[in-house]
Every structure is written in C-alpha cells, then in structure tokens.
Symmetry: C2
Amino acid sequence: MNISAAAERSGVPPKTIRYYEEIGLVRPLREDNGYRSFQDSDVHKLTFLGKARALGFGIDDCRALLALWEDEARTSAEVKRIANGHLSEIDTKIAGLLAMRATLAELIEHCRGDSRPDCPIIKSLEP
Amino acid sequence: MNISAAAERSGVPPKTIRYYEEIGLVRPLREDNGYRSFQDSDVHKLTFLGKARALGFGIDDCRALLALWEDEARTSAEVKRIANGHLSEIDTKIAGLLAMRATLAELIEHCRGDSRPDCPIIKSLEP
DNA sequence: AATGAAGGTTCCCAAGACTGGAAGGTCAAG
DNA sequence: CTTGACCTTCCAGTCTTGGGAACCTTCATT
C-alpha cells in the first residue's frame, strides 16, 4: 500500500506520516523503487496515533502508548498513569483559559463599543 | 534606561523585549555604544504588552491594541471587536479541551489501573 | 594600568507538530 | 511518447520565546 492509501485509511495525512517515520513512530518497508510500503499493521499504528493525538496526547506520550499497546505484558496502571498526567495538563490549560475568559468577558461587558475612545478594555491594559 | 531595568519595570524579560523590537512592537533608541535606551514610554508599552499577552491576545492583536491605545481617535467599538474575536478563540479552545477532558476522564474512570494489561484507554485507541 | 565581573550586543539553535513547496524520480493510461 | 498523478528528499517556515556562544562596554577593584 502506498502512502496516500495509508493516509486515507488511517486518516493521517501523508506529510504527517512521513514526519512520524522520521521520528521513529512508524517504520514502513520500502519497495524497490523507494516508495514506502505500508502493511495493515502500519495503518493500524497510524490510526492509533491519530486517535491518541485527537485526545491531545503529545508525541512522547503517543510513543509510550504505542509501545504499551504492543506490549502484551503492559499494566493498565502504566497506561492510566500517562493518561492522568495528560489529564492534569488539560486541566491546567482549561483553568488558565477560564481565568482569561472571565477577565476578558467582564471587560467586554463593560465596554460600550460605541464611537467614543473611552474603553475599559484598553484601560485595564494601561500601566 | 538599559534593557534589564526596562525588563524589571515592565515585567517583560529582556529576551522578549528584543524580540518585540525585532517585530516592531517597540522601538527603543540607541546609545552611542549600541545599547538600547528605554524611555518611560517604552516601558509603558512593554507593560501594556505584558498585560495583553497575559490575557492571551496574540501578537497581531497586541499590535492592533497598542495602536488603538495610542490613537486618541480610537473607537471603543474597534477595541471591543478585537476583544470579542479573541474571546471567541478562547471559547473554541475551551470547548475543544473540555471535550477531550470528558472523553479522557471517562476512560480513566473505567480503567482499573492495576497490573493487568486490560485497559479501556488503550482499547479506545485501537483501530 | 590591569583585571575581572557584570552588564550589553548579535546571531544561531531548540522547542511542538506539523505544513508547504521545489526539484526530481516512477508509474499507468492513452 | 507524453501526460498527469503519484512518489521521493530536502529546505524552510510556522509562533513566541528561552538558552547559549562569541564578543564588546563599563565600572570597580587590585
């Protein structure tokens, strides 16, 4: 299977697949002509990676999760540990964004948004 | 005033100040020896930028807000427009993160996290 | 005067995770 | 044989810093 077929089946764009190969996440075989040759197992890995990325896992987490997936002796505790770490990061980001949002929304609420220069948003940024 | 003093007063690190100069957000004068020479107005701008960045505004928004701040003929409507645009982006990000968080939290909840390989988190990533 | 510390300067590299484009090889159909 | 759709590699850019090297200036101390 060529790269575009693998891309279509996995949902991961060709460019990204090449990048994943470059950083060692997948290792497709090569045809005599130099084209990458994807097995079903490669496509499965790519699909796995696509889903993990969609959940926001970073590349390093993806690498670890992929290794665990292929490790029959894995423990669910290790998987859970990684997932919990990622969850914490997400929560931190959400908290930061919510704080920003609250401040910003309040400023916007008090801004008349008319043709005058007077504006609490600008005012809040002033030294 | 040298760069480290300006950094201290504005709260913006020297490296970041140099970057802001590079992209034209501030234009400090230069001493004969080549050192940057910051006026109070430069420090005020940097402080303004620091606050705007802390609210999550992108560099382009910061540039626009800075211009509006210095424009006596500005309209609060224009400021509000930028702020609302940014609020939308924040809301989009929050929504994405909350969706991820919900999925991930549910998976984690159902993962026993023991020494066995069986794991709903990994399972959800499988093709 | 000489020296050393503490500042300043520029420039390059790294991050994360791709994405776009250029230059060129390969393949199947007409 | 040509066309067009693939494929390949390599280079560069994204965005906002942070780290560090190599070098210059200034000031204080020996």
